[in-house]
Subunit: 450 residues, 2 copies
């Protein structure tokens, strides 16, 4: 069984609610929206990601005979529900912000418009997919802000939360500007450039460090990046200097060296000097080991001579904020706007749009959250750019998925338009998201109903 | 492609190192061990988990023609490597702590003994699988310590890091004492009990809350748990009281109610009173919403009348410590012990065993980390219990996987033997792990070689 595409990848209550909806013939059109309620600490903005996987999920969602059998045998469900699931296809519409769009709390990144049981059933996996890549894109983008112009590579698979997390973290970090990943399968599936050096075990398996370097160079003559810190970093750098001319005679250039422990700035400075003095000024220094955007910021501030950063667990787990307050909420059913009033969790009702306004400098100035259909009447709206676009109609995509390089270009453009205070890595004044009067009025009307 | 079983789920450097090993005919026996270097903040111990998935991975690891083709076309690898991978089978031995074993830093939870290229190739995915379930088991067990005797259920799929994380978090939390999960597929794949209630959307899709309750009860007559906080929690509790006799006439009992927002203790007390006064003392109260072991501890301390806790994102992401400093390191090659000296990352060399010693009260007293073969000579060892056991020989398991209920029983036994100070949820004095003299001598000898 392919566990990541199973229709059973859902919460039990979706199936129990479906049974209720079907029994009551509640199959009118529902609108659900996916949004983040509030930012985690130290995040000033988020980057939408995961739409591509969410759409694939909706397009291909089917119950296999094995899955249907499990549901039937669970003893909790009616034959009518099993029959419904046997025929299940997602036939709804999807509107969304394109991947790579910068967004803020309460702004929907995706809207599903579909018969209620369909829109309900997809909640869990859709949330799971949008949440994770958005989480990682929003974390990884910070490494780029911390170390502009440096090469960043994802080294995080081993401590990612399972296989899919590793793969999708490679994708999400690439979208926001990473140069590539160490995860081979991410290269094979998504066409992301794949990077690699060598591990301590390779050095240790040899009795002699210099011999290990030479053997690795012979095995990867076009990608020689040698790991220096197995025993003594500077001694190893001197071995690289001694080895380089011998390799050069065989047409092999050392491309880089990697530092993975200790004070990276100090080692980088000493190693840079050894390499330069040894006639190897073009050999790049790669640093790895417990790096996150805060460490990168420090290394940049003290001008550590590091050319490339390999970022692992902190990025693939979004370690300082490992989840987002991301939800998928019913906004409208059968033409009637809905809103829950749960304490601290109240939501804006109805089917919404986000208009972004830019200042004279081209930077983002503020957003306006409106009802999707108030665009023409609402005086201040027409100046803004609508962020939510039609993506899927009646279960089919309106356009092929954009190439990842195009999403990267979008992110670069978004970052160029980010107000200066949002580029910092610490808490600051929040970006302004205004709520239209029509939307406030609707919320009030909803509250008066209950 | 089944992404979670792909042989390409590895770091590029494993393949480049393999090419080096093969070119140098370095195919002697290597010993790698997987261990955690240090505990994250606030953790006094860890619980080993994920062995079952790790073994399945080793047993079934094959390169498909598509994967081999991708490797060949990448232009980085020799025909000899592709040929080697075409034939690849894991034929090594595995020793490990059984799932559910409590362990501490520097103690190997798994040892691979295999020809070097085999033992090297499996590093990334093996680490990824052992790391994640160990992380989650070690987090989830704390909820049980915080709320002994309460029912705990995993509600975390939507904010888990992808599909596999959701599924394996359901498994890992069940192993350490959770009653079940909301994730349907975890029920289908692992036989874990599946739980569910109802979402706000179901209530909101109805014009009337009472009608929503009734419809849900009719749809799930044997599992009626009603959600109270969509509009006004106490008003909803009174509706349950009004509805219950009507349902009772149709043979339907309300089993529980769920609170998902606001001050859970206050709401629980008020709802408990309303239910008791309404003749429903047996209706259970389920609480959910941003719960972790710290919240549970507080709710228990103030005796909130809550019977069941649904725990989500905090548990499935191990939010206060979303990764472990877990590594897989070469300890021996061709009979020669290895140790890296990297600053702050030095490791104990050789093939190791852990002996656990218990006090007169039956509680764990201290562990001794030794060389695997010093058992007979080492004076203080024979009293202890060896934690690392043979699990796989020449690529085949020595015994079928234990049933999950048996692993649960092991964990319960382990927890009963935990020293009191480790049962607290805060930092405390570390548990003592002694290192044998023979192991210290070997480390010194290794250092003198380099």
């Amino acid at each position: 069984m392919n566990q990541s595409s199973s229709a059973l990848l859902t919460d039990l209550y979706q199936l129990t609610m479906l049974q209720g909806y079907l029994e009551q013939r509640m199959e009118c059109t529902a609108v659900f929206e996916c949004f983040v309620r509030k930012l985690p600490p130290r995040r000033g903005f988020l980057v939408a990601a995961g739409l591509e996987q969410a759409l694939s999920y909706l397009e291909t969602l089917r119950f296999t005979p094995w899955e249907l059998d499990w549901i039937a045998k669970s003893g909790r469900f009616s034959a009518a529900l099993v029959e419904y699931l046997t025929q299940f296809r997602f036939t709804g519409d999807v509107h969304a912000m394109p991947e790579g769009t910068v967004f803020f709390p309460d702004e929907p990144i995706l809207r599903v418009t579909a018969p209620l049981p369909q829109a309900q059933l997809v909640e869990t996996r859709l949330s799971n997919l949008l949440h994770f890549q958005t989480l990682i894109a929003s974390k990884a983008v910070r490494a780029g802000l911390a170390a502009p112009g440096k090469e960043l590579v994802d080294f995080g698979l081993r401590r990612a939360h399972g296989a899919e997390a590793g793969l999708l973290a490679a994708r999400a970090s690439y979208l926001v500007g990473f140069s590539g990943t160490a995860t081979v399968q991410a290269g094979a599936l998504f066409g992301i450039p794949v990077y690699g050096t060598v591990a301590h075990s390779f050095i240790q398996a040899h009795e002699d460090e210099m011999e290990a370097f030479e053997h690795f160079a012979l095995a990867q003559p076009n990608h020689v990046v040698l790991l220096l810190d197995t025993y003594d970093t500077e001694a190893a750098a001197r071995k690289v200097v001694a080895l380089a001319p011998r390799l050069q005679k065989r047409g092999i250039s050392v491309k880089g060296v990697r530092l993975d422990s200790g004070n990276l700035a100090d080692h980088a400075r000493r190693v840079r000097r050894i390499l330069n003095d040894g006639g190897l000024p073009d050999v790049r220094i790669v640093a790895s080991g417990n790096l996150d955007e805060y460490a990168l910021q420090e290394l940049m501030a003290i001008k550590a001579p590091i050319d490339s950063f390999a970022v692992g667990a902190h990025m693939t787990t979004s370690s300082d904020a490992p989840y987002l307050d991301c939800v998928y909420k019913l906004q409208e059913y059968a033409g009637r706007a809905c809103r829950k009033r749960s304490e601290g969790k109240a939501t804006w009702p109805g089917c919404k749009q986000v208009y972004r306004h830019y200042g004279a400098d081209g930077r983002m100035a503020y957003d306006v959250l409106t009802l999707a259909d108030e665009g023409t009447d609402f005086k201040s709206v027409p100046d803004g750019t609508a962020l939510i676009q039609p993506i899927m109609r009646e279960g089919r995509r309106l356009a092929p998925a954009p190439a990842l390089v195009d999403v990267r270009a979008r992110v670069a453009d978004e970052l160029a338009r980010l107000p200066e205070h949002l580029r910092r890595l610490q808490d600051g004044p929040p970006y302004q998201v205004r709520v239209s009067q029509a939307l406030r009025d609707l919320a009030k009307a909803c509250d008066e109903r209950h």
